[in-house]
């Protein structure tokens, strides 16, 4: 969105000195024009104004002006990006905090109305969303539907259904010490929260956390990823259109805008992306003691035992790798560990699986996403071309720089110190590591940072249990890939290098809530032992204080102490 400052003319309300012009409006400067402006309180109001560029002055964003004139005139445009600096960000946070303090976002009705609007937005604008995703990633419509639209829709549905239940204070047991009393844990919103999302699932990874923030009753700013520009601008447009802009906003941009946002005091920051940026986010958050949720990634392994149903396994690996945004997903399979003997059979089955899904020439397939940007394309290319691995390709290897396409590619037995096995791949490359015994895979996994997901394919129940017990990862699926993400009764989030905090379903609500402990006492039921002057019996309290044992103090205060 571009904007232009417009100097108001005559009876224009003095409280609204600056206005924003939609990016596609063509305007001239210095000329007097009749403008049609729409504002939250009036629509299609005609007024005269002189257009006057003021690059350094702040822009009043609460008013949108479109020219009613059809005349095409020279343009003086100014990127809105440039004006979004720390001051603008501070203003935005102030505005959001003000609407938060009015208490409206806390009401059940407001939360429901926003959730319904999101649902409506997804239903009505499904086509636009799919188109934007196609522009950004050539994401097949089918995949767009499954991983973006349906995910968001079902999150909305669940939240709408469960919200009342989630909001209800949780009764807590009270103990002897506080008798007589009653206690409850009340979920309350945090305030103004910032969601910074990423480009691989640019729609669902933006909207799902926002749904969490709204269900918990917060005011929210979303910063979508600039690497998926079509979706970013669509989100900005749709949020403006469907949601209450006094409490839900989109700020588009890249590093400077994000930096400006991060300088502000937020009550929570929810970030999806890389550990490198995760560290930047956390550093900024430390300044204001802001709690963070970091949804990062890591190398997610899939261990494949030799006793599996080969066809099913191969299909599910294909689904968890190339069908998941062509491997550009934080939970897609990063590498496979299997036994030496089984590897050839597995490779055959995978080759067949790829062919079934994407045809004999996957470069021509419409059912597979492209690489998001040329940066990422060259990154993947250098992973493929490293001298340690380039001759290990057993399936695929084709690429097309112009179209940013890379075919599903499998490597066999790449060395552990190759870049392919050191970095998160985030693309259609799949190394297979072989071990003597399938159990050895666990040591291999544990020698690396904790991944966001770990997968195991086996029919051996003992191995299953051993795997669950000894591998630490954000989530885990046995005999499948990626599927655990769709289970909203399970939290989604990493551990260690793969992130902190979790969300989805009720966990999203919790991630954006503060659990306030509330204790109700009456004025009756006091034991005199609780108060000085201390008789010999009351000496216990002093002892407790001297010893510093908090339980002793409490016990002594309440008169329940034993000697």
């Amino acid at each position: 969105m571009r904007s232009l400052c417009v100097e108001p003319f005559q009876n224009f309300s003095s409280q609204l000195p600056f206005v924003t012009v939609l990016w596609n409006s063509v305007v001239d400067t210095g000329a007097r024009r009749t403008l049609t402006y729409c504002s939250p309180w009036k629509t299609n109001h005609k007024h005269e104004a002189v257009l006057f560029p003021l690059p350094s002055r702040p822009i009043r964003k609460s008013l949108c002006i479109c020219l009613s004139s059809s005349a095409k005139l020279p343009v003086m445009m100014e990127e809105k990006k440039k004006t979004f600096d720390a001051n603008e960000a501070a203003l935005l946070v102030k505005e959001l905090n003000e609407s938060f303090r009015t208490g409206k976002t806390k009401s059940y009705e407001w939360r429901v109305s926003q959730l319904k609007s999101i649902e409506k937005m997804v239903v009505e604008r499904e086509k636009d969303i799919c188109e934007a995703l196609y522009k950004d990633l050539s994401k097949p419509e089918f995949e767009a539907f499954v991983s973006e639209i349906a995910m968001v829709k079902s999150s909305c549905k669940e939240a709408l259904k469960e919200l009342k239940h989630w909001m209800k204070p949780e009764k807590a047991k009270t103990s002897m010490e506080t008798y007589p009393s009653s206690a409850e844990i009340v979920s309350e919103p945090l305030g103004a929260v910032l969601v910074i999302s990423t480009w691989n699932y640019p729609f669902s990874l933006s909207v799902k956390p926002v749904i969490g923030a709204i269900t918990a009753g917060n005011a929210t700013v979303l910063k979508p990823s600039e690497i998926a520009p079509a979706t970013s601008s669509l989100l900005s447009k749709l949020f403006e259109e469907y949601l209450d802009r006094s409490a839900v906003r989109v700020v588009e941009g890249d590093v400077p805008q994000t930096t400006a946002l991060l300088e502000q005091k937020w009550d929570k920051i929810f970030y999806t992306g890389s550990p490198r940026v995760g560290r930047i986010i956390m550093t900024a958050a430390a300044k204001h003691l802001t709690p963070v949720v970091l949804e990062l990634g890591g190398k997610c392994p899939a261990v494949i035992d030799s006793d599996v149903d080969l066809q099913v396994t191969a299909r599910r690996i294909v689904a968890g790798k190339w069908q998941a945004n062509n491997g550009q997903a934080c939970i897609s399979v990063d590498y496979i560990i299997t036994t030496k003997d089984f590897a050839p059979k597995l490779i055959d089955a995978l080759r067949k699986g790829i062919e079934e899904c994407f045809g004999t020439d996957p470069m021509e397939s419409k059912d597979i996403s492209r690489i998001v940007s040329s940066n990422h394309f060259s990154r993947l290319q250098s992973l493929m071309d490293e001298y340690k691995v380039y001759n290990k390709i057993v399936v695929g290897g084709q690429r097309n720089q112009k179209e940013l396409k890379i075919a599903p590619t499998i490597f066999l037995d790449v060395p552990g110190d190759s870049q392919l096995m050191q970095e998160e791949i985030f693309g259609p490359l799949l190394p297979i590591i072989t071990v003597e015994n399938v159990k050895d895979s666990i040591d291999l996994i544990n020698s690396k940072p904790k991944p966001l997901a770990a997968y195991l394919f086996t029919n051996n129940d003992k191995l299953k249990n051993y795997f669950v017990q000894s591998v630490s990862s954000g989530g885990m699926a046995i005999n499948d890939t990626v599927l655990h993400v769709t289970v909203s009764s399970l939290p989604f989030g990493g551990v260690g290098e793969s992130g902190m905090g979790s969300y989805h379903g009720k966990f999203s609500f919790d991630a954006f809530s503060h659990k306030k402990a509330v204790l109700y006492r009456s004025f009756s039921g006091d034991s005199s032992v609780r108060y000085p002057p201390y008789t010999p019996e009351k000496q216990k309290l002093i002892k407790a204080v001297m010893n510093g044992g908090i339980f002793n103090i409490i016990l002594a205060l309440m008169g329940w102490s034993r000697d």
Binding site: G103, E126, C130, E141, F142, A150, K153, S154, A172, T174, S175, E177, T178, S181, A183, V186, L190, G191, G278, A285, A286, L289, D309, T313, A319, E356, G359, K366, V468, S472, G474, G475, M476, N479, L483, H484, V487, S489, L490, F492, G496, S502, A517, V518, R521, F523, S524, D526, Y531, P532, Y534, I542, V545, G548, G549, I550, F551, I554, L557, M558
Partner: protein, 468 residues
């Protein structure tokens, strides 16, 4: 400093030990908790019962029962597996050197972690007791106590931890969180803040009496106000202020005697530095006139008399900083309802205490203020309620603990789904077509009839189908 020699190799050994799986063993956890119990023999039952209870029964079961799976995950089972994080660091403070050290340690052990405890150097006797005696009760390969000052603290913070649990000031909290960034370590920060007590103009003399008793004990009795959840200041209506002050004067004398310096009913100030800090709060010329009771100081014995102030200037240090000592400012308001705006104009406190009977005001207090905890008609006792989470929000902290919440704080809840090789919706895999899409939509929407219709070929076109 001996604990720090060879720190890196010590910690590596602890990590190794964790990887051996020893600490995950339930029997091991129980043995360590028992060790702790022996160490704190006075409160054995209280701690053990709570933990045993918490460890025995888990919400995992509840999740398993409630798990509502979308149809796509058909024939899979979902579970949540709590697992220990690894090697954790606990940095405790001096005001309750045992409680604040052991309470998180219990959580860390119960969850199956290896742990390093660094007690505060400001309570040296307790710190050395913890360092010298506690290890004799516990598995030293898994639990270590390291003593030292800021230099040791800094050295510890450079290491890689799986969680850092800190109790102390917001200033140091920021340092901890910044240090944790390096290794993306999650942190729990138990900080403090100015916790207000709102006192309504109570009519009944019994209520007044009870209120004053509870306030005085929570302020001057809780380690002489040196507790993060002690009452920091009082908000009261102008017309009720004098009644409250008079009652307090009488009760302080009754509880702590005419000469409280001589009775041992009030703890001393922890060290000279803190004594001088309190002295400067009190000796501020703008504040001096507002003292209505007490105010005497004894530097030699580090004693500060219980002191009441009425309406000190709001921009004075005593009203902008956490007091952490036996000074009690009373701020008067025209109307008790104004207390909500007053509280909201300050950083979110660890606790709010509201002595009110008016139900409407109670509800407003509940929904319009934000704090770590909120207690009606009492103070400080929420710390003892293990069924309630204890922790701050905003400036008063990040994260929570106590009881089951301590266990959760030191656990990672791993989401696990299990599937068989039997069923697969064929429409889960490419190549994709409208038919599959239609089916999948029905699946996601729990539209069983729709699924059936599609399968039978009776429903053909998607609404809003966006052809690409």
């Amino acid at each position: 400093m001996e604990g720090v020699k060879g720190l890196e190799s010590d910690l590596e050994a602890m990590r190794q030990y964790f990887r051996s799986g020893k600490t995950k063993d339930t029997a091991w956890r129980q043995s360590q908790l028992k060790g702790l119990l022996l160490f704190i023999k006075e409160n054995e039952k209280h701690i053990f019962n709570a933990l045993k209870k918490d460890l025995g029964k888990h919400p995992v079961e509840a999740y398993r029962d409630e798990a509502k799976l979308p149809r796509v995950a058909l024939l899979s089972s979902a579970e949540l597996v709590p697992e220990p994080l690894g090697l954790v660091l606990i940095i405790s403070s001096w005001n309750f050197p045992f409680g604040i050290s052991l309470e998180p340690l219990i959580g860390a052990i119960a969850a199956g972690n290896t742990a390093v405890l660094k007690p505060s150097e400001l309570a040296p006797a307790s710190s050395s007791l913890l360092a010298n005696v506690l290890p004799t009760y516990l598995d030293n390969k898994a639990v270590k106590v390291i003593q030292g000052g800021p230099a040791v603290g800094e050295r510890l913070l450079q290491q890689k931890w799986d969680k850092i649990f800190f109790t102390g000031s917001a200033r140091v909290g920021r340092i901890i969180m910044s240090a944790a960034v390096n290794h993306l370590t999650p942190t729990v920060l138990e900080l403090g803040g100015k916790s207000p007590a709102v006192v309504d103009s109570l009519a009944s003399s019994w209520d007044k009496q009870v209120t004053v008793n509870r306030i005085l004990v929570s302020k001057f009795g809780a380690c002489a106000g040196q507790a993060c959840i002690a009452i920091d200041y009082i908000l009261v209506e102008k017309r009720f202020a004098s009644t409250l002050v008079e009652l307090m004067k009488v009760m302080i004398k009754k509880m702590f005697g005419e000469n409280p310096r001589e009775t041992n009913a009030i703890a001393r100030i922890v060290n000279q530095q803190h004594f001088l800090r309190l002295k400067s709060l009190l000796r501020d010329p703008a504040v001096q006139n507002s003292i209505v009771y007490g105010g005497s100081l004894d530097e030699k014995n580090l004693f500060v008399e219980p002191t009441i102030l009425v309406d000190p200037p709001l921009d004075a240090a005593i009203m902008t900083e956490e007091i952490f000592g036996p000074l009690l400012p009373i701020i008067t308001l025209d109307n008790v309802e104004d207390s909500i705006a007053f509280i909201n104009s300050k950083p979110k406190p660890l606790a709010i205490y509201a002595f009110i009977k008016n139900e409407k005001l109670k509800r407003r207090m509940l929904s319009e203020t934000s704090s770590g905890s909120l207690v009606f008609n009492d103070a400080v006792i929420q710390y003892a309620a293990d069924s309630l989470p204890f922790g701050g929000i905003g400036e008063s902290g990040v994260g929570k603990y106590h009881g089951k919440f301590s266990f959760d704080t030191f656990s990672h809840y791993k989401a696990v789904t299990r599937r068989s090789f039997l069923t697969d919706f064929w429409y889960r895999f490419p190549p994709w077509n409208d038919y599959k899409l239609l089916l999948l939509e029905a699946t996601y929407n729990f539209d069983y009839l729709g699924m059936l219709l599609v399968i039978l070929g009776l429903k053909r076109r998607r609404q809003n189908s966006g052809g690409m």
